[in-house]
């Protein structure tokens, strides 16, 4: 049963915790790695072993291939799980692991390389007969050529930086008049951001859904898909709420197998094994277009686990060890509905700007149908060097309406003080009629921010808050503690003594 002697977890935060848990369930000891910012982190405490790999900036720790491989050797690990982000889609890292006799729990370095650039992935998809967004494959510099292509595609079109990501170097062009200056702007922005001003042209899909397909395959050519995830709700080009199944499946049940087969075709073309995700956009008519392949375990893999009952992490380890995939496509079943909320240290009222601070109080939700994958604890100091995601709260229920009600309930239970988070924002989305109706697209959040009702002031709560605050401050002062010190029962004790004296 023990597939590996020891596995190094080359990540931090909630995903490192999730990987350690999965390894423990497989009875495999875990080796955590940590930077200066993470000495006190949960993943370090939960793993059997821990190795220090450098200073807080990820370039000096979680991105240091040499130190991670050195730690693996020093501790006698024989495999590495990269999680997501950091080195997870770095072909050089995967290759280095293989060369050093460490099993990389993910696809081959070659697959990562083949799927690494969007352009290469797009060519693979075309070779596999999978639809892609119409557009140019090569960078366009000549204005004349650009005009011809754009006219062929039909406006609106989208300009994209060839080397890009994160929305930089992107421009929407609605008519030929705007084209030339837009190319100039996009190109110079791309030049500044990525050192390359190459720009290509795509048909713009208006208000698309972002839907992706989860895949897993083994080294023996077996490959299955686990259905779709709806990931349209995004801010700053990052997902914030994901679902399985997509609400679109209710009206277009044929999409799952069509997209699933397309995703498997692309993966097969790339000789893919382990877990991966094919990202698509879907237009208003239900036509889908392949975008790219993410060659790692996705942040939002949990909603697929909840609905299919398949543990993706267990399977990743199994197939990395050379095992045969224990399930066939026909055995995979989808039950009920799952929703994930990414809980982030950010301020939705201030453009989703990252916040920080120390967690003063923490209370995470529980009970039926709730899964929390979290790196939090009371006293946790949010490091400003990394992604602001603190935890993932997932719910499952028999249908989507109940899942939304449960998600709302669980968000109400979730309490984090000391750090500003997006919990309230997430809760308000659960009340939004558009969200409840499942009318989702990548422009959902800007629309939601405009239409969401203002919260009515509540003078009664304000008055009570004033009273509680005064009692709290008085009790803290009376006990001779500073504002920061918190000792249990101080007000209760004070009430039992001081107040009793006043009232009797």
């Amino acid at each position: 049963m023990s597939m590996f002697r020891k596995v190094l977890v080359a990540n931090r935060g909630e995903i490192a915790v999730r990987i350690v848990r999965g390894l423990h369930e497989l009875r495999i000891p875990a080796l955590a790695v940590y930077s200066d910012a993470d000495r006190d982190a949960l993943h370090v405490r939960m793993a059997e072993e821990a190795a220090y790999i450098g200073a807080a900036p990820s370039t000096e720790s979680y991105l240091r291939i040499d130190r991670i491989i050195e730690a693996a050797h020093r501790h006698g690990a024989d495999a590495v799980h990269p999680g997501y982000g950091f080195l997870s889609e770095n072909a050089e890292f995967a290759a280095a692991c293989e060369e050093e006799g460490l099993v990389f729990i993910g696809p081959s370095a070659q697959s990562i390389k083949r799927l690494g650039s969007k352009t290469a992935a797009r060519q693979l998809a075309k070779a596999a007969g999978v639809p892609v967004v119409p557009g140019t494959e090569d960078a366009t510099r000549e204005a004349e050529e650009a005009r011809r292509i754009a006219a062929e595609l039909g406006y609106p079109v989208l300009l994209k930086a060839a080397a890009g990501g994160g929305g930089k170097g992107m421009r929407r062009v609605d008519s030929e008049d705007e084209l030339e200056s837009a190319i100039r702007d996009a190109s110079s922005e791309a030049e500044r951001a990525f050192g390359s001003g190459e720009v290509y042209i795509e048909k713009l899909i208006v208000d698309p859904r972002h839907i992706e397909i989860q895949l897993i395959g083994d080294r023996h050519g077996n490959l299955v898909h686990l259905g779709e995830r709806e990931c349209s709700i995004q801010r700053r080009h990052q997902k914030v709420i994901e679902e399985c199944p997509s609400p679109l499946s209710a009206t277009r049940p044929e999409l799952r197998s069509a997209m699933g087969e397309a995703a498997v075709a692309v993966a097969r073309e790339a000789g893919y094994f382990n877990a991966g995700t094919a990202e698509f956009i879907v237009d208003r008519d239900g036509k889908f277009y392949f975008l790219e392949m993410n060659t790692r375990l996705q942040v939002e893999h949990g909603v697929t686990e909840l609905v299919t009952g398949v543990d993706l992490l267990h399977l990743q380890v199994l197939v990395a060890a050379g095992g045969t995939l224990p399930l066939r496509q026909t055995e995979i079943q989808w039950r009920g509905a799952a929703i994930e909320c990414r809980v982030c240290a950010e301020d939705p009222e201030a453009g989703f700007l990252p916040t920080g601070g120390r967690v003063a109080q923490l209370s995470e939700p529980g009970g039926p149908g709730v899964r929390v994958d979290s790196g939090l604890y009371a006293g946790f100091e949010v490091p400003f060097e990394y992604d602001p995601m603190l935890s993932k709260m997932m719910v499952w229920a028999g249908d989507r309406a109940t899942a939304i009600a449960r998600c709302r309930r669980a968000l109400e239970e979730y309490a984090i003080t000391g750090v500003k988070t997006n919990l309230g924002f997430l809760r308000h989305i659960m009340d939004d009629p558009e969200f409840i109706a499942g009318r989702l697209h990548t422009g959902f959040i800007p629309g939601f921010l405009e239409r969401r009702p203002r919260e009515a002031p509540c003078p009664e709560l304000e008055d009570m808050a004033a009273l509680i605050a005064a009692a709290h401050v008085r009790a803290r002062n009376t006990n001779g503690n500073g504002a920061g010190a918190q000792r249990q029962g101080s007000v209760s004790r004070w009430l039992a003594n001081g107040r009793a004296g006043v009232l009797r």
Binding site: G356, L461, E462, M464, H472, R487, Q488, V491, L495
Partner: protein, 150 residues
């Protein structure tokens, strides 16, 4: 003995001799039963005040002990000198102005980076830079003074 308590902009008179059925059930967590209804308040310190959270709402409250002589008095800001703080914990990437510079409302003063995102700190009004307290490369906490304008 009445406390001076300010919630947002509103000053609320408080009589601490009249408290509801309240229990500090965990440190800084208060269960309040009033007229048969149950409320859970969480109190956490925030920059010289406390943030009170209840029913998904947050109230920033400045509560001044009458015996302490108004140590937490109302802030006086906006007229004369004004400190410009970091909007979030992070690293100062660039300072865009120098002491003595005249600045206009909205002008960029410094760039702070956190979690891979750069954010420009802008001038809240017209004025002149009288002190620069941060330099590129400094790690700063949220609210740390970057510079002062007047």
């Amino acid at each position: 003995m009445n406390w001076r308590v300010v919630v947002g902009d509103r000053e609320i008179p408080i009589d601490l001799a009249k408290l509801p059925d309240m229990r500090e059930v965990e440190p800084g967590v208060y269960s309040v039963l009033q007229d048969g209804r149950s409320f859970l308040f969480r109190v956490a310190p925030v920059n010289g005040a406390v943030l009170v959270s209840v029913a998904g709402r947050d109230y920033k409250v400045v509560a001044s002990d009458p015996r302490a002589g108004g140590r937490h008095g109302r802030h006086t800001l906006g007229e004369g000198r004004q400190n410009i703080g970091a909007p979030m914990p992070g690293k100062v990437i660039r300072v865009l102005v120098a002491e003595g510079d005249a600045v206009q409302h909205g002008q960029g003063l410094a760039v702070v980076e956190a979690m891979k995102m750069q954010n420009e700190v802008r001038a809240p009004r017209d004025g002149r830079v009288v002190a620069v307290k941060a330099k590129a490369g400094d790690a700063v906490t949220a609210g740390a003074v970057l510079l002062t304008i007047e």
